[in-house]
């Protein structure tokens, strides 16, 4: 029972739980934690409304380090637990922290169905393309041929592209950001939070121990302006240190053009076709890797719809009582009635 609400002016430290953080030194998760704590402080939401739910894996230790309500679940099941939390109480601000193994392998079924139902929550997928906590096996986002402890001769698996997987599952908000690019991360998380519905954010995250430099070709300072294009709603698709290059959608391809010719990005198209095309990249790897907001569309959220249906039934039939419960079918009397 909420009788009072907390003040809504916070600093980052208000969201630090005080528990000793146990990620490896240099892990990308530290930067993400810091970014999330800053974003939480900025949202104007009473802190008791936040619930952070996770599964199993390095990223799933996340709830212990944020001073909100938190639930460290079991492997892969965070979207299901979070769906229950949110559907039982839609007033809560529900966030899921998960990883590539947790969300896309053992929990693959739950994340696609949470997306399909459009449960109003933010899912942060820490993608480091490796199993960290179980010590270095390849993951469902690892590149083919990857040599790991479980694939000493190279992995034969084809990876998921988390972005187009979630687009295919009907996620209403799909975005990508990078652990080391904190201003971008904060901007994307704020947009994910502002979106009403299922918000999926892939965070490219570096595992210093088992997969160091996995995204170096996209994220290193020297090259990232040329290797990334930020998908900003209503803005042209431009990139490069001097923003001197643009992307233009052609009928069968995406071409590098001058900034003036660049396509203006619209993540709100119902079909998501442009988002899907750009998420796939090109065969030769010449196009920059898109980050930012792929998709952002409005749709009914199941958590609200559930309660609306209940309210409609109550309005039509009246609040059900124990007497109604027992007397809804044919009844008969035995012995004298009072």
């Amino acid at each position: 029972m909420t009788t009072t609400t907390s003040p809504v002016s916070y600093k980052k430290k208000d969201f630090e739980s005080g528990q000793e953080v146990r990620w490896c030194p240099g892990c990308g998760d530290y930067a993400i934690l810091s970014g999330v704590q800053q974003v939480f402080a900025s949202l104007g939401v009473p802190k008791e409304k936040f619930v952070v739910v996770s599964g199993i894996g390095c990223s799933s230790r996340f709830p212990y380090y944020v001073d909100t309500y938190g639930f460290h679940g079991i492997h892969g099941r965070a979207p299901a637990i979070a769906s229950g939390v949110k559907c039982a109480n839609p007033e809560l601000d529900v966030w899921v922290a998960t990883g590539d193994g947790d969300a896309l392998s053992i929990g693959g079924n739950h994340i696609v169905h949470a997306a399909r139902r459009n449960v109003d929550m933010v899912v942060l997928l820490f993608n480091n393309r490796i199993y960290g906590l179980t010590k270095g096996q390849y993951s469902p986002t690892s590149e083919p041929g990857k040599k790991t402890v479980s694939t000493p001769f190279g992995s034969l698996d084809q990876p998921f592209n988390p972005i187009n997987l979630m687009l295919g599952a009907g996620a209403t908000f799909v975005a990508r950001t990078v652990d080391t690019q904190i201003p971008h991360l904060k901007k994307v998380l704020a947009a994910a939070h502002a979106h009403r519905g299922f918000s999926f954010v892939e965070i490219l995250q570096n595992c210093v121990i088992f997969n160091n430099g996995a995204f170096e070709h996209i994220t290193s300072r020297e090259i990232r302006d040329d290797r990334q294009v930020d998908l900003r709603p209503g803005q042209p698709l431009v990139f490069g240190k001097e923003l001197d290059k643009g992307l233009r959608f052609q009928p069968t391809s995406i071409e590098i053009v001058s900034p003036e010719e660049a396509t203006v990005w619209n993540p709100s198209g119902r079909s998501g076709a442009s988002a899907y095309r750009i998420s796939m990249g090109d065969e030769r790897g010449e196009l920059p890797v898109p980050i930012g907001i792929f998709r952002d569309v409005e749709a009914p959220c199941i958590d609200r719809e559930i309660h609306a249906q209940i309210e409609a039934a109550r309005a039509r039939l009246g609040e059900g009582t124990l007497h109604d419960l027992f007397h809804s079918g044919d009844t008969w009397q035995v012995g004298a009635a009072d």
Binding site: M1, S54, G70, G84, K86, A313, R314, V334, A337
Partner: protein, 617 residues
């Protein structure tokens, strides 16, 4: 046609009757049986039903494996089972006759639809010749042969329905006949048809016409020789009654628990036979504030329920054996996070897909021990369809009071079977209001209530109580992640002590019969009725036999050991290979006689009685 001379012959009074309706799985036998049951319920008979249908939705017509049956026993006295052998068999085709005739009592009434006894029908039932031509059939049974197909087409010819659709009303015609034979009114079924087919006037007209024609044919033709029967109302305890199926009673018990606790009810569930009807029933209770979440799989069913429990709801997940197996990891999470949760397992024949539509009690040991780690939880079992209500209510109450998952075992026989349910009177059910923790003063998520050892239930949204829970071992009191060896041992012991403490509030066990004697028949779950019938008959024959039936399988009742010591021998009938017997041997070092049956069908009274007689000579 001249009215037969026998029309006003006095009705014969019968103590009880067992009818079995049998036909193709598309013949509407379940519906017919259910209607007969509801009509008999409203007349005040005690009754019990046993629906028995194939796993296939529409098995190929006329085949032996496609036969669907519904047995109903209605009585002028208190009964506990749907009866061993039917007095009346309605066989809609040769396959139904072949499968069910061996069960019919000698001299029983056999009603056969001759309209489905063509050469092809006989071939599909593997009959070399038409069994109706065998003169022994008429010698051994009271045979009534009628072309129900033709009679139905005649009766429905003005309804506007085509003959294919009209033929589907033949079950109503058979039902109308039996209503006359057993002096039942048509009104309950007429009202039901009018509601069901309100938007389909032609279908309604055809069904009503078939029902009434059956009644008229039975009354006016010679086929029953004017012999009509009555079964008086049963002297049940005073009150208002309704007929319930076990799964519906479970749903009602859960809704009642939500009302009495003041919490919203949340069901996370995935469809599985024979548990889905609980989901269906709860989905209709929207105006009671019930949330039903049809999850993507069994694991999500329980995980959404755990999430909803964290949010403060009375959370439930329902399933059958294979689904319970899938939920076991999450059950461990519920034990570790000490959140209230009701898990209902409507057991079916296993392992694997097994016999999905048939009954069994073979999940007992999985319910007790089938989890990783030391993972105790209270386990309850319902003993009859109506008892599912009380068992579900108690499961929810224990879960909320002790902050623990609770497992409720029912089975397909209870879930699909029906019997009269005495509706609790106003004030009979005691509210148990649940208040979530709100006091932030020195709040600790794992500081326990000294009496129940329950931890506080602090739900998200409550200011000042932010805390983290999860599957990692918790430090005592603070709930922080803790790998300390002594703490782990302490927490394992605390969780166990909490669950074992539930037994303190059990009512004393009640032995049926003397408190000591030559033989105690000890049972659990759905065997209650057949054991009671057998024990009553053995006692009438002078045997010193008593019955004890367990509601609580874990923790076991504290007075059970003492009762066991007062009997020379103990017989445990169960629909598995002796799982309760193992438990009793292990817990009490007491030798027991195990009577087992794993045929997908409940024990008959005769089977249990035969074992009692064998043991007592």
């Amino acid at each position: 046609m001249t009215p037969p001379q026998t029309a006003d012959r006095p009705k014969e009074r019968l103590e009880e009757v067992v009818i079995r309706f049998a036909g193709d799985s598309g013949d509407g036998m379940q519906l017919t049986g259910t209607q007969f049951t509801n009509t008999s319920a409203v007349l005040g008979n005690d009754l019990a039903t046993f629906p028995d249908f194939p796993a296939e939705i529409r098995a190929p017509a006329g085949t032996l494996f496609g036969v669907s049956g519904f047995q109903v026993r209605f009585s002028a006295r208190d009964i506990h089972t749907p009866g061993d052998a039917p007095d009346v068999l309605v066989a809609m085709n040769p396959a139904a006759l072949k499968v069910n005739l061996p069960d019919l009592k000698p001299g029983g009434l056999l009603i056969v639809n001759t309209g489905n006894f063509g050469p092809k029908d006989l071939e599909k039932a593997h009959y070399d010749s038409n069994p109706l031509d065998d003169p022994r059939l008429e010698q051994e049974y009271r045979l009534v042969k009628l072309d129900l197909n033709e009679a139905t087409l005649q009766a429905t010819k003005d309804s506007g329905l085509g003959s294919k659709d009209a033929l589907r009303c033949k079950n109503l015609l058979a039902l109308g006949m039996l209503y006359w034979v057993f002096s039942r009114p048509l009104s309950t079924t007429e009202a039901w048809l009018e509601k069901k087919f309100a938007g389909k006037p032609e279908v309604l007209a055809a069904n009503l016409a078939a029902l009434r024609a059956g009644h008229t044919i039975a009354e006016n033709s010679e086929i029953f020789q004017g012999r009509q029967y009555e079964v008086a109302p049963a002297p049940l305890p005073r009150g208002t009654y309704r007929n319930v199926k076990g799964n519906d009673a479970t749903a009602m018990g859960l809704v009642a628990a939500a009302k009495l606790s003041g919490l919203p009810l949340f069901l996370g569930s995935y469809p599985i036979t024979p548990a889905s009807d609980i989901l269906h029933a709860l989905a209709r209770y929207k105006n009671f504030g019930v949330i039903t979440f049809q999850a993507e799989d069994e694991i999500a069913g329980i995980c959404t329920a755990i999430g909803a429990s964290y949010s403060g709801a009375l959370a439930v997940t329902t399933t059958s054996g294979p689904g319970l197996a899938l939920k076991t990891e999450a059950m461990g999470l519920a034990v570790m996070t000490e959140l209230p949760l009701v898990i209902v397992d409507v057991q079916r024949g296993g392992p694997s897909t097994g016999l999905p539509t048939k009954t069994e009690q073979a999940d007992l040991l999985m319910a007790l021990w089938g989890r990783h780690g030391e993972c105790p939880m209270p386990v309850l079992a319902a003993s009859s369809p109506a008892d599912c209500f009380w068992a579900a209510l108690e499961a929810a109450r224990i879960a909320l009071k002790y902050m623990t998952p609770v497992l409720l075992l029912t089975d397909g026989y209870l879930g699909n079977g029906a019997e009269p349910f005495r509706i609790p009177e106003d004030g009979e059910l005691t509210p148990f209001p649940v208040r979530h923790w709100t006091d932030p003063e020195d709040f600790q998520p794992y500081r326990r209530d000294p009496e129940t050892l329950a931890r506080p239930w602090a739900v998200p949204g409550t200011p000042g109580l932010q805390h983290r829970i999860g599957g990692l071992e918790k430090a005592d009191i603070t709930g922080h992640v803790c790998y300390d060896p002594d703490n782990h041992e302490k927490m394992v012991a605390l969780r166990e002590a909490k669950v074992m403490g539930v037994a303190r509030e059990y009512a004393p066990l009640e032995v049926f019969g003397e408190a000591s004697g030559d033989l105690l028949v000890l049972g659990w779950g759905s065997t209650f009725g057949s054991v009671r019938g057998a024990v009553v008959r053995a006692r009438q024959a002078g045997k010193k036999v008593s019955q004890l039936h367990l509601r609580h399988l874990w923790p076991l009742p504290p007075d059970l050991g003492g009762i066991l010591e007062r009997f020379e021998r103990i017989l445990i009938p169960e629909m598995n290979r002796g799982q309760l017997a193992r438990l009793i041997r292990g817990e009490y070092l007491r030798e027991v006689v195990s009577l087992t049956k794993v045929k997908g069908r409940p024990f008959t009274t005769a089977e249990t009685l035969a074992k009692i007689e064998e043991l007592l000579g």
